[in-house]
C-alpha cells in the first residue's frame, strides 16, 4: 500500500515539470492544456517518467543552444568593438594629418620654405594606405562605406588643389597663389572632410554603444538561462535519485513480503504436518479398539451368537477397518503433496516390471493378456512415479476382474518434443465419459463399494503427483468396453 502512494506522489513532480510551460503559453491554451492532462492521465508510470525526463532534457538542450548563441554574439561584438576602436583612431589620424597638410602647405606658399612641404608629401604617400584601411574597417556597414567613398574623393580633391597651388607657386611665384596661401587651397574640401569624419565618428560610437547594450542584455539573458538550466539539472538529478531510492525501497518491501509469506507458508506446513501426525496417531487407536473389542465380544459369547448378531459384529469390524484404510490413504495423499521431490531419470520399463512383480499375488487365478510396449525414460521422482503406475495398473487389474480374459495394454503415444504421453488401457468395466471430470477427485468413486473395493484416493494421488511433475492426466472410457488412462509428463523437469 505504501509503495502505491509513493508512486503517485512522484508523478506530479514530473507532471508539473512537463505541463506547466504549456499552461503558461497563453490563456487560450487551456484547451490544449486539458488535452495534455488527459493524455498524461492515460500514460503508464514508465511513460510518465520518460515524458518528464524528455521534457527536462529538451529544456536543457534549448537553454544550452540559446546560451551558445549569446556567447558567440558576445565574441563577435567584442571583435567588432576592436574594429570600431581602430576606425575611430584612424579617423582621428586622418583628420589631424589632413589639417596639418593644409596648414603646412599654406606656410610653404607664404615662405617658400621646402621643409614645410614634408607633411604634405608624407600625406600623399600615406593616402592609399588610409583608403585601404578605411575600406577594410568599415566593411559590413554600407552607410559608412558610402561615407568612405565621399571622404576618399574629398581627400583626393584637397590634395589635388594643394598640388596645383604648389605647382603654380613654383612656376609663377607668391603673387599668383597669394589668395590661396591666405585662404588655403583645399579649405572647402577640408571642411567637408571634417564634417564627414565627425559623422563617421558619431555613427561608429553609436554602433559601439548599441553593441554594449546588446551584449549586456545577452549576458543577463545567458545568466538567467544558465540559472534555469542549473535548476532543471538539479530537478533531473533529484528525480533520478528519488526514482532509484524508490526502486530500492520497493525491492526491499517485496523481499520482506516474500520472506514473510515464506514464513507463513512454512508455519502452515508445520501445522499441517502436526495435524496429520496427530490424525495418524490418535484416530487409529479408537478404530483398533472398536475392532478389538468386537473380536473379544465375539469370542466371549461365541456359543450363544446367532447369525444376525454375528453379522452385526462383522459389520462393526468391517466399518472400523474401512475407516482405518481411509485414514491411511488420506495421509498418503497429504504426504504426496508435501514430500520433497527427487529429480532423476526414471527407467519406466524397469519400473513397470517391478510393479508387475509386486502385484503377482493379486494376479493369482487371473487370466490377463499383457501388451507392454518399450517405454521411454522420463524425468521425475522414481518413488512417486512408481505410485502413479502402481495405481493405474492396479486399477486396470481391479476393473477387469469381471472379464474371463482381461486385456491390459501399457504404452506411449503422441509424444512431442516437450511432452511424453503414456497410457494404461484395459477392457474392463469402463466408465461413462460424463463422469470423466470426477475420476481424479479425492474419494470419488464411480462404482459401488460392493462392486469394487477401494477408497477412491488412487487416481487423486496420480493426478497430484503428475501435476507436481508439471504434467497432465486424463481418461477416456466407454461403459462396459474398457478405459484408457493417460499421463503426460514434460520432457524437461518443472518444479512445482
Amino acid at each position: 500500500m505504501e509503495s502505491a502512494t509513493n508512486q503517485q506522489s512522484q508523478t506530479p513532480l514530473l507532471a508539473t515539470e512537463g505541463t506547466k510551460p504549456l499552461a503558461d503559453v497563453a490563456p487560450g491554451a487551456t484547451a490544449f492544456y486539458r488535452v495534455a492532462v488527459a493524455w498524461f492521465n492515460r500514460m503508464t508510470i514508465e511513460q510518465r517518467v520518460l515524458t518528464g525526463f524528455s521534457l527536462v532534457f529538451v529544456g536543457i538542450l534549448i537553454i544550452s543552444a540559446i546560451s551558445y548563441r549569446n556567447m558567440s554574439t558576445l565574441l563577435t561584438n567584442s571583435g567588432l568593438d576592436g574594429r570600431s576602436h581602430d576606425l575611430l583612431q584612424l579617423l582621428g589620424t586622418i583628420d589631424v594629418t589632413m589639417n596639418e597638410a593644409e596648414d603646412t602647405h599654406r606656410r610653404y606658399l607664404v615662405t617658400g620654405e621646402t621643409s614645410y612641404l614634408e607633411a604634405y608629401q608624407k600625406l600623399v604617400k600615406q593616402k592609399p594606405a588610409f583608403t585601404v584601411y578605411l575600406n577594410d574597417l568599415t566593411r559590413g556597414s554600407p552607410e559608412q562605406q558610402q561615407r568612405v567613398g565621399v571622404l576618399d574623393r574629398m581627400m583626393d580633391r584637397q590634395l589635388n588643389a594643394e598640388s596645383k597651388a604648389i605647382g603654380l607657386f613654383q612656376q609663377e611665384g607668391f603673387r599668383s597663389v597669394k589668395k590661396m596661401a591666405l585662404e588655403g587651397a583645399g579649405r572647402r574640401e577640408l571642411g567637408v572632410i571634417h564634417q564627414l569624419i565627425a559623422e563617421m565618428d558619431a555613427h561608429e560610437r553609436q554602433a559601439v554603444s548599441q553593441r554594449v547594450l546588446e551584449s549586456a542584455a545577452g549576458t543577463r539573458n545567458s545568466i538567467v538561462l544558465l540559472g534555469i538550466g542549473a535548476v532543471l539539472q538539479l530537478v533531473l538529478l533529484a528525480s533520478v535519485y528519488y526514482l532509484i531510492r524508490h526502486d530500492i525501497t520497493e525491492r526491499r518491501h517485496v523481499a520482506e513480503e516474500l520472506q514473510h509469506r515464506g514464513e507463513l507458508l512454512e508455519a502452515a506446513n508445520k501445522e499441517l504436518e502436526a495435524f496429520s501426525y496427530s490424525v495418524s496417531h490418535d484416530l487409529r487407536a479408537p478404530l483398533r479398539h472398536i475392532d478389538g473389542y468386537a473380536a473379544l465380544l465375539r469370542k466371549s459369547v461365541e456359543q450363544s451368537l446367532n447369525e444376525k448378531a454375528a453379522r452385526y459384529l462383522q459389520t462393526i469390524s468391517d466399518a472400523a477397518k474401512q475407516m482405518g484404510q481411509l485414514i491411511d490413504d488420506l495421509l498418503v495423499f497429504s504426504r504426496m503433496g508435501r514430500q520433497e521431490m527427487l529429480a532423476t531419470t526414471v527407467n519406466l520399463d524397469q519400473l513397470v516390471k517391478s510393479i508387475l512383480a509386486d502385484l503377482r499375488l493379486d494376479l493369482q487365478g487371473r487370466r490377463i493378456s499383457w501388451t507392454i510396449a518399450a517405454l521411454p525414460d522420463v524425468q521425475g521422482d522414481p518413488a512417486m512415479l512408481r505410485q502413479v503406475f502402481m495405481n493405474l495398473i492396479a486399477n486396470a487389474v481391479k476393473f477387469t476382474s469381471t472379464r474371463p480374459t482381461a486385456t491390459i495394454e501399457i504404452g506411449a503415444e503422441h509424444s512431442t518434443s516437450s511432452e511424453i504421453v503414456l497410457f494404461v488401457r484395459d477392457n474392463g468395466v469402463g466408465f461413462d465419459m460424463q463422469y470423466a471430470s470426477k475420476l481424479f477427485g479425492v474419494f470419488q468413486r464411480l462404482h459401488r463399494a460392493d462392486e469394487f473395493e477401494g477408497t477412491g484416493i488412487g487416481l487423486a494421488n496420480v493426478r497430484r503427483i503428475v501435476h507436481r511433475h508439471g504434467g497432465r492426466t486424463w481418461a477416456e472410457g466407454v461403459p462396459d468396453r474398457g478405459a484408457t488412462f493417460y499421463v503426460a509428463l514434460p520432457t524437461r523437469r518443472t518444479e512445482s
Binding site: 501426525y277 495418524s280 496417531h281 490418535d282 487409529r284 487407536a285 478404530l287 483398533r288 479398539h289 475392532d291 478389538g292 473389542y293 468386537a294 473380536a295 473379544l296 469390524s317 472400523a320 477397518k321 482405518g324 491411511d328 495421509l331
Partner: protein, 151 residues
Amino acid sequence: MNMAKPILLAEDNPRDAELALAAMEEERISDKVILCHDGAEVLDYLYCRGRFKSRLKGNPAVVFLDLKMPKVNGLEVLRTIKADSNLRPIPVVMLTSSREERDLAESYALGANAYVVKPVEFHKFLSAVKELGTFWGLINEPPPESSRSTH
C-alpha cells in the same frame, strides 16, 4: 531360558493394554507382563524406585514401548535406556500407532531393536502382539545379567 524374566509393557491407553494382554493370554504369557501406564513408571521399574522399589532385581526380557505417553514419552524412555550402560542391552520394541517416517527414523537412530505399527484390524494386532511376545519373551535369548551395580 528366560522364563523368569518379565516382559515390560508401557501403554497409557487402558483399552490397548487390555487388548494386548488378551492377546498375550492366548499365548499364556500374560502373567509375565508388567504393565506401566506411562514413561515415568517404566523408568521407575528399570531403576527400582517408586512402586517398584522392592521388586526383584534384574532387567526385563524386553520392553514394549508406546511412543505417545504422558509424563515421559516413548522416545525419551528409549533415549534414557540406550544412554545407560546397564540398561542398553535390554531389547526395546517400539509398539505404536504412528507410521510417520520421522518417528521411525528417530527410534532407530536412538537404538530401538524393532519398530512395530499397531495394526487397526484386531486379528492382525493379535497376531502381532502374540508373535512379539513369543519371540522376545520366549524365543529370543536376552543379554546375560551383567555385574549390575545396585541402585
